[in-house]
């Protein structure tokens, strides 16, 4: 009981500090905005950003572009996860394949995928397909590496148990390998989703005619700074919410 009390006091302090940090940032922002030290609307007042946010939330254009980006990200993640999990299992299960392919996966994975964007544009055009391809490529590596690592961490006795009860390949995969790798796979998907969102948005800001990245560039071109910040806030909120959702499932 005493321990539980202590923990709740500590977490209350943490929460208080977090709120304090937010208030200080908001305060500093507002002070900068009012100081007149910055050119034009580079640091708009919180009130203006709030008003833009309200306007954004009822703007059908925002939702149309949000939908485009969401669909692109989901498809990129689905393709990247499908290929990544399959590759990860193959690499994790087979020492020979792992040794053969390890250098490719390890050395290619930190390469920024955006350098391939021109190639993707040529292959898939300026529409959503090129963003999906690039997003899938970036999600693939994170998920493949995490799955391969998860595969090697499976307690070997659990595999022997499955074999001793004469589980077939399908049963081994569905009832032993996948549940044993749930946490590393979900962590891989979480990382993969992060890079997929980044890559898709980045692709949209470079060359596209729809999506949130495109919208950001539109707002920026109009130099609508409050609108730009409102848009960024929405993207933070959405990415944070999705991340928290996957994190919830990845908990053991």
């Amino acid at each position: 009981m005493a321990a539980a009390g202590k923990i709740s006091v500590a977490s209350r302090d943490v929460l208080a500090l977090r709120l304090l940090v937010a208030l200080v940032i908001f305060g500093a922002w507002e002070a900068m905005s009012r100081s007149g030290l910055f050119y034009g609307e580079v640091v708009p007042s919180l009130l203006k950003i709030g008003a833009s946010l309200m306007k954004l939330l009822v703007d059908p254009i925002f939702y149309r572009n949000l939908q485009v980006t969401t669909v692109e990200t989901i498809l990129a993640l689905a393709i990247g996860a499908g290929a990544g999990i399959t590759t990860g299992i193959a690499l994790g299960a087979n020492r020979f394949l792992m040794r053969a392919f390890e250098p490719y996966v390890y050395y290619l994975s930190p390469t920024p995928r955006i350098i391939l964007f021109p190639v993707m544009i040529m292959w898939f055009g300026v529409g959503p397909a090129s963003k999906i391809a690039l997003g899938a490529l970036s999600a693939f590596f994170a998920i493949a590496l995490s799955t391969a690592a998860g595969m090697r961490q499976i307690d070997p006795v659990l595999i022997r148990v499955g074999r001793s009860f004469r589980a077939n390949i399908w049963q081994m995969a569905m009832k032993i390998y996948l549940p044993a790798m749930r946490v590393p796979i979900l962590n891989g998907i979480r990382l993969g989703m992060g890079t997929a969102i980044i890559t898709v948005l980045l692709g949209e800001t470079k060359l596209s005619n729809q999506g949130l990245g495109y919208l950001i560039m539109q707002v920026y071109t109009r130099f609508d700074m409050p609108g730009l910040y409102a848009l960024l806030i929405m993207i933070f909120v959405i990415a944070g919410a999705v991340n928290a959702l996957i994190g919830h499932f990845a908990r053991d």
Binding site: V157, L158, V161, F165, R166, P179, A180
Partner: protein, 279 residues
């Protein structure tokens, strides 16, 4: 010879001249060397020997996890080279599925066989009750002690109703008191089901407490040194460890084992000193 024929006729499991070598060229190690014995229907047999006597190799061969060996492990007329439905294995390591509750762990083999859910639950429940974990069906393994997890593993193997229960030091990681009490549980279950059982162990008191016969193995290469009949009364409980007859058997088998164990110790000590010299 005639009596030998009879014995193999009623034997549930026959180990016939089994040899297993590992490695190749100069590096060949013979782990199991011409081992033969049989386990009769309803009998409890233990294989005992020091570490390095090839008993775990024998366990894997009988369980069908090590298909490449010479000689034959036979159930009826069938030579085992892959996991056989008549053999149910219990492993030394903690082997419950951490993501499944106790009842789902125990129902696992039935799930693989495609048994309907309600029947699965009924049958799993029966064996969970038998190992004394009825009030923990909804618990996850992480909430259980080591001894309880091993009982879950045993129930999971029993639920598939194997003709032969094959166990590899299932209590090795447990403390002595828990081990004695679990031994009681095993004896009780074995008598209740008339379960043919083969136990691999290095624990002398455990072997004498539980067995009808004990196969004593030599240190590397693993051969059968002697087979001892344990004529202690049944039904048996752990009280038997206090009896004179029990002490007599332990002393007798230790006499055989001591030489093997000290060879094993000398071997590992010289290996260690070689490593130290190189280091």
């Amino acid at each position: 010879m005639a009596s030998n024929m009879n014995q193999s006729a009623e034997a549930a499991l026959v180990i016939d001249d089994v040899v297993k070598r590992f490695g190749r060229g100069q590096e060949i190690v013979t782990a199991v060397d011409h081992v033969s014995f049989s386990v009769k229907q309803g009998e409890f047999v233990s294989v005992i020997g020091p570490s390095g006597c090839g008993k775990s190799t024998l366990f894997n061969i009988i369980g069908g996890l090590l298909g490449d060996y010479e000689g034959a492990v036979k159930i009826g007329d069938e030579r085992i080279s892959a996991p056989h439905p008549a053999v149910g294995m219990v492993f030394q390591e903690e082997s419950t599925f951490p993501w499944r509750t106790v009842i789902d762990n125990v129902a696992f083999p039935l799930e693989l066989q495609g048994v309907a859910k309600s029947e699965r639950i009924d049958r799993a429940h029966h064996f969970i009750d038998m190992v004394g974990l009825a009030s923990f069906e909804k618990a996850f393994p992480s909430q259980l002690s080591g001894g309880m997890k091993q009982r879950v593993s045993i129930a999971r193997t029993l639920v598939s109703q194997p003709k032969i229960l094959l166990m590899d030091e299932p209590f090795a990681a447990l403390d002595e008191q828990t081990r004695l009490l679990l031994g009681d549980k095993i004896t009780q279950i074995q008598q209740q089901l008339n379960q043919t059982t083969l136990l691999i162990t290095h624990n002398l008191t455990e072997a004498v407490q539980l067995s009808d016969r004990i196969v004593v193995m030599t240190y590397r290469p693993g051969r059968v040194k002697r087979i001892v009949n344990i004529d202690l009364p049944r039904p048996r409980t752990s009280d038997v460890v206090g009896s004179d007859a029990f002490g007599h058997y332990v002393a007798e088998i230790w006499n055989d084992l001591r030489e093997e164990a000290s060879r094993g110790m000398a071997d590992s000590e010289s290996a260690a000193s070689r490593r130290a010299a190189h280091g």
